[in-house]
Symmetry: C2
Subunit: 202 residues, 2 copies
């Protein structure tokens, strides 16, 4: 089994997830800047030209960071990062998706529609990037209101993949000049709690 990965938020999500579970895997670094994600051999693994990709020993390919994490959860159940029991699993799914759809997508659109690097990947609309950039603080403010009940983690009492996703949103935003607004006390406390975990060095 080996993991093809590199820079960027999605590989980072998987590395943090693995660190939380104490999983180590052989890794193959895919260098975007050298175009290795567009090499024919890599496109045979993932026709979308994206990392991360998990290759199992029998050649089975799993793409999409959350699908890779799901596989690792099934094969290494402890500590559970997708919840335990029907309500908890649904809440983790709900919060992981809210983090992705509300915050990650908004932050991600900024570099996607403004950075030189993505120019050949899509038709960029810099004005769209700008409205998304302006929307980011509102998204964090929404999360701050949601965390006003004082719970320690997004999906409740336990750290989960939803905290990894949302924490990586904070990290990604900072990389492109979009800090979490300092006035949002609940998000600030949650962000410090999550991102001080040793797994964040992964």
């Amino acid at each position: 089994m080996k993991l093809y990965q590199g820079i960027g938020p999605n590989s980072y999500r998987v590395r943090i997830f693995m660190a939380e579970k104490g999983i180590t895997l052989p890794m193959v670094n895919i260098d975007f800047f050298k175009g290795e994600h567009r090499a024919p051999d890599f496109l045979k693994l993932n026709s979308l030209g994206q990392i991360p990709v998990l290759e199992l020993d029998d050649g089975t390919i799993i793409t999409e960071s959350v699908a890779i994490c799901r596989y690792l959860e099934e094969t290494h159940p402890e500590p559970p990062l997708f919840g335990t029991g029907a309500v908890s699993r649904a809440k983790v799914e709900m919060w992981n998706r809210r983090a992705e759809l509300v915050i990650f997508a908004t932050i991600g659109n900024v570099p996607l529609h403004s950075e030189e690097f993505f120019k050949d990947r899509l038709t960029q609309f810099p004005a769209f990037a700008e409205t998304e950039r302006q929307a980011v603080p509102k998204k964090w403010a929404w999360l701050d209101r949601e965390l006003a009940d004082g719970r320690p983690f997004l999906a409740g009492e336990n750290f989960s993949i939803a905290d990894i996703t949302a924490g990586v949103c904070g990290w990604l935003g900072e990389a492109f000049g979009m800090e979490i607004p300092g006035t949002l006390e609940n998000v600030k406390r949650w962000n410090e709690r999550v991102r001080s975990r040793p797994s964040w060095n992964a």
Copy 2:
């Protein structure tokens, strides 16, 4: 337990999922055109003002269509629609996400950035809607190549939530003048196979 739902692809996904499992639930219709998703009482259930929302008997709220489906899978395991075993579950997750991120997001951006109805929800970029509209056939063509191995369903031998998501993409595209290109034989066969299931009347 009751389901707040209405028109739109995400409520439809949950209704199809329930029909596949033979689940019936009391439903509360939320009428977008009357602004019921913005009513204070509804915003207490889902601060994002989105449907569907599942309310459990103890008042627990689950939002996000896939999280609702995950809850129903846990409480009604048969027939399994999220896969069985580590590899199968990862493949279903992978294909559900590919359907969402590659096809659903592209189709969804078209009405979101061009329809009058969404004007107060975001800053619209009609030129972005147009590039997304033009990209849709390429996304289906990608899926057609992926299905060239002749497997009956997206994640393999068994029907899953990934087929519901991608099938609803076909339905949504048609609603906004983006038919699946008739030349894509593999997608065409898959689409007919999936959308002829009785659950599609849900």
